[in-house]
């Protein structure tokens, strides 16, 4: 089975827009180094990936390769990477359409843990909704939601142990909320107020929480992936048993950081889980622009001899079971695992983005893997561990919890109102001790 179907792309993905106005033979082929125009029958051409749908089109996900729930086997934890290559193109799924947990990957997750996971995911969604409102009210300049991707960070965090370190991107707030990290601290950071632990220096959502195994977030993409490998190597060098979990979006796998991380992980086999969240979009670029039409992101691991899985990221049970499998491998000194989480970025890239400009309307609803919260809820209801009423009650309670934390955070100020971080903060912390010339600049500015 192949991960993506080239034939599903218009014109096999080639020359999709050769007929566009303004595209002349000359402009298409350019000139050779000698200045002569190259064109004609033997001229080369490029494959320019085009998404299956643009605004105005009907959503179409026929190119996404799926497996049935329960279809994919669960290899032994000490499986040799070369023996499980098929797992990079199939899709590990546990929850079936009729809300049962099926197949070899089922059974890794207790019902109690599922309830914990459901609450965590709902908390993430309630938090995202509230912060989006806060952004519109001008309490922060910017916010990033993870709508539709909640299962991945929550499911993995619940498969890790305290002391393990995650190297997230800006879309893994679930890593904190699944551990009940204080909402107040998160909101104060987003509001950049007088109680912001990062002292007004860092972009909203770029939390940093060492005690909760949340490394920090870089505005420049990809850097955390190599750092996760470095941290995992240090864990082995120190002779302890902590593992690292690195995170990257499928778009950012194009950065050399991703490839450096894989080669180091391949050489030293450190205890690290290498997560690629394939939410189909990188701002306005669809996953084909990152090479997703040529091979799956899980298949990237093969060239490095690293074990990899392609997993339904909207299936909490699959996320937890696959994370647990990779966690066991890492902690048993069996080396790194790369996991591609197949999911969909249901919201815009950030509050500065309008996805209506580049993708069809209604696509999130048409996404074949559904909504992670609905799917887990339906499973727990079928298991008699949850009910619609309980769900409603929990949602209301979580919304209230987030609202109360937001109100409390506001007493410490918001982006444009109330107390602010002190101007001193921009001079502190550059070095261990403030250099003389910076001290002079500070005095000059009267701070």
């Amino acid at each position: 089975m192949s991960g993506t179907d080239l034939d599903a792309l218009p014109d096999g993905g080639k020359h999709a827009d050769a007929e566009r106005p303004g595209v002349t033979e000359e402009s298409r082929w350019g000139k050779s180094a000698t200045g002569a125009s190259i064109k004609g029958a033997n001229a080369l051409s490029l494959h320019v990936p085009e998404p299956v749908g643009r605004p105005g089109d009907e959503p179409n996900f026929s190119h996404v390769a799926l497996s049935a729930a329960g279809e994919v086997s669960r290899p032994a934890v000490d499986a040799y990477a070369g023996d499980i290559k098929a797992h990079a193109t199939s899709l590990v799924r546990v929850l079936s359409d009729d809300h049962e947990a099926v197949g070899e990957w089922a059974g890794a997750t207790s019902l109690a843990l599922c309830v914990q996971g459901l609450r965590a995911m709902m908390k993430v969604r309630a938090y995202d909704e509230r912060m989006l409102i806060a952004q519109r009210q001008g309490k922060t300049s910017f916010y990033i939601q993870c709508t539709g991707e909640e299962a991945i960070s929550c499911g993995q965090r619940l498969a890790l142990e305290r002391g393990d370190m995650c190297f997230p991107t800006y879309r893994q707030q679930g890593l904190l909320l699944a551990q009940d990290y204080p909402l107040l601290d998160m909101i104060c950071q987003v509001f950049s107020n007088s109680r912001d632990k990062l002292r007004g220096r860092q972009l909203p959502v770029m939390y940093s929480a060492k005690d909760y195994g949340f490394f920090s977030i870089s505005g420049n993409l990809g850097t955390q992936f190599v750092q996760a490998v470095g941290w995992a190597m240090a864990s082995a060098i120190d002779g302890n048993n902590r593992i690292a979990s690195g995170w990257i979006g499928e778009g950012s796998t194009a950065e050399s950081d991703f490839h450096s991380a894989l080669v180091f992980a391949s050489v030293y086999r450190p205890p690290v889980i290498l997560n690629v969240v394939n939410n189909q979009w990188a701002i306005s670029s669809f996953q084909g622009v990152a090479g997703g039409a040529s091979a799956t992101f899980a298949e990237r691991a093969h060239g490095y001899g690293i074990a990899s899985l392609r997993v339904d990221g909207n299936d909490f049970l699959a996320v937890h079971a696959a994370s647990k499998w990779a966690e066991r491998r890492a902690r048993s000194n069996l080396g790194p695992t790369l996991i591609e989480w197949v999911t969909y970025r249901a919201a815009g890239h950030s509050t500065s983005d309008d996805p209506g400009k580049y993708r069809p309307k209604g696509d999130a609803e048409a996404w074949p893997l559904g909504d992670p919260i609905d799917r887990l809820k339906n499973y727990l209801i079928k298991q008699d561990r949850w009910s619609e009423a309980q769900h409603e009650q929990t949602w209301t309670a979580l919304q209230e919890e987030v609202r109360a934390a937001t109100r409390e955070a506001e007493t410490y100020g918001t982006l444009n109102e109330g107390p602010k971080p002190s101007a001193l903060e921009m001079f502190e912390g550059v070095y261990e001790e403030m250099p003389e010339h910076l001290l002079r600049q500070r005095q000059k500015l009267g701070v």
Binding site: D17, A18, R20, P21, G22, V23, T24, E26, S27, R28, G30, K31, A33, T34, G35, S37, L46, V48, E50, R54, S141, S192, D196, G200, R201, Q202, L203, P204, M206, S218, G219, N220, L221, G251, S252, A254, E255, S256, I283, S284, S285, V289, A290, G291, K357, Y358, L415, K420, P421, A423, E425, M426, F427, V430, H437, L438, Q441, R442, L445, V447
Partner: protein, 334 residues
């Protein structure tokens, strides 16, 4: 603004659309030119300055690339070395970190190292500057890094008129040229003539003539310097404001000529003051016009710390008309 920027056209455009027009003129004029960068095609860039170009020129001239700045610059170097005239887009100047070997050790040096056999008619557009609450990794002004590299040209358009003309001049140039744009200027309105025209690379612009004080201000600081100049009039200071336009090569002659007339000079940029381009300009002034100086050359720039996120902090961090006037008063003993 002053006569030097004015032209015979009544038409006004925002800086962002002037960029679009500049790129469009290049694509119309040069068959072997194309645009490549992150989010440049479908979205027309995250700031929208390539809007409409995909529809007009098609996907084989406007490329949404994978997210690899190293790949983008490498593509530009390779393609320009074989005779194309690519326009490559580095979304934020901060991402120079991701592609610095291609910029510093390849793009800048190939002509020289290959015995003159390589010509790299490459244009790179990148967005710099603070003020948009984008914090330490998306707000920097790193022009000093690239001005320090023999083989590169670096220009910094401050107005819509300059943005269009400099992009065209950069694309016609047979050397790699980096056009450092400013994200806070995107909405700035100004006259922009129809059709192609060039702003010559390496010539400074005396934006406001004056008699007894000179301010050399780069990038967005030009506009702060012009405000400061107005305020200084009340103190009897008649300030000449110079926009270098091109930082590499740098038009020392125009600055020195002004200093010989005014005898007192300040250099302003948005970048961190320590080791900024202002240090080079100040040094050149004292080399060439020491005997004409009545006061030490003053410099205004950002503190030696990363750009903070919080607008409350950032507004203090970034130099402004206020800090320029304060420094001028100190320098001039007012």
């Amino acid at each position: 603004m002053a006569e030097a920027i004015a032209d015979n056209s009544e038409r006004e455009l925002p800086y962002v659309r002037a960029i679009t027009e500049g790129v469009r003129e290049v694509l119309l004029e040069q068959d072997n030119s194309f645009v490549a960068g992150e989010d440049v095609a479908g979205a027309g860039s995250v700031y929208g300055y390539y809007a409409g170009l995909l529809d007009e020129f098609g996907p084989e001239r406007i490329y949404d690339t994978p997210i690899s700045e190293e790949g983008i610059v490498g593509l530009g170097v390779g393609a320009s070395a074989t005779g194309c005239r690519p326009i490559i887009d580095l979304m934020f100047m901060d991402f120079l970190g991701e592609c610095m070997d291609e910029v510093a050790n390849q793009m800048a040096k190939m002509r020289y190292m290959f015995g003159g056999a390589a010509t790299l008619p490459l244009t790179m557009l990148t967005m710099s500057g603070a003020g948009a609450s984008l914090a330490a990794q998306h707000s920097q002004s790193l022009e000093a890094w690239i001005c320090h590299l023999p083989g590169l040209k670096v220009v910094q358009p401050t107005t819509p008129y300059d943005a269009k003309g400099m992009i065209i001049a950069a694309a016609r140039d047979d050397n790699p040229v980096i056009v450092v744009l400013n994200k806070m200027s995107l909405g700035l309105m100004g006259p922009v003539p129809e059709g192609p025209y060039e702003i010559p690379i390496g010539k400074a612009n005396v934006v406001r003539p004056g008699t007894n004080y000179t301010i050399v201000a780069t990038g967005r600081m030009l506009h702060e310097a012009l405000k400061a100049a107005t305020q200084l009039t009340e103190l009897g200071i008649d300030t000449e404001v110079i926009d270098p336009r091109s930082l590499q090569p740098f038009d020392t002659a125009t600055v020195v000529e002004s200093v010989k007339k005014t005898h007192r000079v300040m250099v302003v940029h948005e970048a961190v003051r320590f080791g900024g381009i202002g240090a080079e300009i100040a040094a050149q002034i004292q080399e060439d016009a020491f005997d004409y100086l009545d006061a030490p050359v003053a410099r205004v720039g950002a503190p030696f710390s990363p750009v903070p996120y919080s607008p409350a902090l950032e507004s203090i961090y970034v130099p402004s008309a206020k800090s320029i006037v304060a420094e001028a008063k100190k320098q001039l003993g007012l």
